[in-house]
């Protein structure tokens, strides 16, 4: 057990050390800082999704909806309300999170494939609204005409608008805060009740746990964090894409999570590294880059069913 804990702390320390020094070492491998930002955004979305899949044992195929609503909420706020980056992120997070919480109410009595089907349906509803509402959301072309604004602390400003390194560290700070909250959540009694539902729903019910309420809360929390990631995505691109709401994006989130390892806390982040790297490098060589992502996904599922992180930490769990 001690060896296991030491292993866990060592993994966490290495990951933070690498994340904090990205601007120093990424260019050596031919990367650029915005790429690392994208890894963090997809990583956060997948980690948030994994609260549901990996830790509550519930499959959602519609998490792009909350990711996309986060992005649109953030973009619309910047465009129509006020050029404040933190408030725009708050707006996006609330939009996606509240939508997820309300959808969740209708979802909790479904299980397995039915749950997944209904999540897809909700996701597609959001997609078509963004896709068709030209005047407000920009429709097919996506939402343009907004830009992230520098952080104004009164005494000093942090220019995340133009300085890409500053913006990376801004994303990292948000990511770090969310990761700490998620880790605390999983260590709390509520977090353990999520694991109980994953492990044996019948047993949990016979302990007197109100299963539906817990699944709903878990879904809601997962949606808020996913929407937060979505709002960062809008800032990253200064653009909100209707395809970010689409079921294909939902599929990407699932693939990232499963490739990285859904039983490991950091698994989805590792999955995001792989996904973004493949997307960036392979798409510069061929337009059929998704084929290679799919091939990698199949190989990982076949040969490392616990994902890439599962490979490194045999027997370790959260």
């Amino acid at each position: 057990m001690n060896a296991l804990l030491r292993h866990k702390y060592a993994t966490t320390a290495i990951i933070w050390a690498l994340l904090l020094t990205v601007p120093a070492w990424l260019p050596v491998f031919g990367g650029y800082t915005a790429l690392a930002g994208r890894v963090l955004v997809f990583g956060l979305a997948a980690m948030s999704f994994n609260l549901l899949l990996g830790f509550t044992g519930i499959m959602s195929f519609g998490h792009a909806a909350y990711f996309g609503l986060g992005a649109y909420g953030c973009g619309l706020f910047l465009k129509y309300v006020s050029a404040s980056t933190p408030l725009a992120m708050l707006a996006g997070t609330l939009l996606g999170g509240i939508a997820g919480t309300l959808f969740g109410l209708l979802l909790v009595r479904r299980r397995g494939v039915y749950f997944a089907m209904v999540t897809i349906a909700f996701g597609q509803v959001c997609f078509y609204i963004a896709y068709k509402w030209d005047d407000f959301t920009g429709g097919y072309d996506g939402l343009r005409g907004f830009a992230r604004a520098a952080l104004d602390f009164g005494a000093f400003k942090i220019d995340i608008a133009n300085n890409s390194t500053a913006f990376y560290f801004f994303i990292l700070a948000v990511f770090g805060g969310a990761a700490v909250l998620q880790a605390l959540l999983l260590k709390s009694p509520f977090g353990r009740s999520m694991l109980a539902i994953r492990e044996n729903e019948r047993r949990a019910r016979f302990l007197g746990l109100p299963i539906e309420k817990h699944i709903w809360l878990s879904f809601s929390i997962s949606c808020f964090f996913t929407a937060l990631a979505g709002s960062l995505y809008a800032l990253l691109n200064n653009f909100a894409d209707p395809l970010g709401l689409n079921y294909i994006m939902s599929g990407n989130i699932v693939m990232i999570t499963v490739m990285g390892g859904m039983r490991a806390f950091w698994g989805p982040l590792i999955g995001a590294v792989l996904f973004v790297a493949l997307q960036d490098y392979v798409s510069s060589m061929t337009t059929n880059w998704m084929f290679f992502v799919g091939l990698t996904f199949v190989c990982v599922v076949l040969f490392f069913p616990r994902g890439l992180m599962g490979m490194f930490q045999k027997g370790a769990r959260t």
Binding site: M1, L184, L185, S188, P189, F190, R192, S193, L195, A196, E199, N200, R202, R203, A204, R205, F206, L207, G208, L209, K213, H214, L217, R317
Partner: protein
């Protein structure tokens, strides 16, 4: 004194099949009652009536003198009926301590909390230590439950039931599918819970040997009816039981 559990003329029919017919039973506080019977005697149906898996077609089920006919299974757990299942129900990929902790936190109403203060944490830790000690699992607390032997898994399941501080413990074939050594371990645990910790226990059992050394009183079911009731000595000497059941047993 009000009996802990009282069954009055319980009958359960599935269509034209009468699985349990007019069975009565009174279990006093502190008693260990075994319900035995050959395969198809209606033991499992009877157990399901007590645990609330379905309501009786007619008759009454009273817990502490209160009619609980219409209380569903999860509600009966909250009224103090702790139970284990014929096929062990645990959280396999969590440690023994985590299994116990989830039960303690749920039982004490902490499961919707996102943080704990030091006092809460200590209260939960102490309760976990206590049930793990009772189940003799302290040394294995940090092992994954799924990796343990059948006997230890059953002990862990019983520990989870104990964590809810039940006033009545219902065990569905606690030694089902176990070898001699594990059966001995589990019966030892049940005996300690009964003699030392004074739990009221009702257990359904197929294995006769287990029951004769454990129970205060035995109810024998056959073909859905109550065939006999009495102390182990009385049951062993009962000719009707011998003909209907013991004669057929291996």
């Amino acid at each position: 004194m009000t009996p802990k559990l009282e069954i009055r003329g319980a009958t359960k029919a599935f269509g034209s099949l009468i699985a349990v017919s007019d069975v009565s039973m009174t279990v006093q506080s502190g008693e260990l009652r075994a319900v035995i019977g050959p395969n198809g005697a209606g033991k499992t149906t009877y157990f399901n009536l007590i645990t609330g898996f379905f309501p009786p077609t007619s008759g009454e089920i009273l817990l502490d003198g209160q009619n609980i006919n219409r209380v569903p299974a999860a509600g009966r757990v909250k009224l103090g009926m702790g139970r284990t299942f014929q096929i062990t129900e645990i959280f396999p990929e969590l440690t023994v301590r985590e299994n116990a902790r989830i039960a303690v936190e749920t039982g004490q109403g902490y499961s919707l909390r996102f943080w704990l203060n030091a006092g809460d944490r200590k209260r939960i830790d102490d309760a976990c230590d206590e049930v793990l000690e009772m189940a003799r699992l302290t040394a294995k607390a940090d092992r994954l439950v799924g990796e343990l032997s059948h006997g230890d898994q059953r002990a862990a399941e019983i520990a989870m039931a104990l964590a809810l501080k039940p006033s009545l413990l219902l065990l569905d074939e606690p030694t089902a599918g176990m070898g001699d050594e594990e059966t001995y371990q589990v019966t030892g645990l049940i005996r300690r819970l009964h003699r030392d910790s004074k739990y009221t226990i009702v257990l359904i059992e197929h294995d006769m040997r287990v029951v004769f050394h454990l129970a205060d009183r035995i109810s024998v079911l056959a073909e859905g009816k109550l065939l006999a009731e009495g102390t182990p000595e009385q049951i062993a000497a009962n000719e009707v039981v011998q003909n209907a059941y013991l004669g057929k047993a291996e």
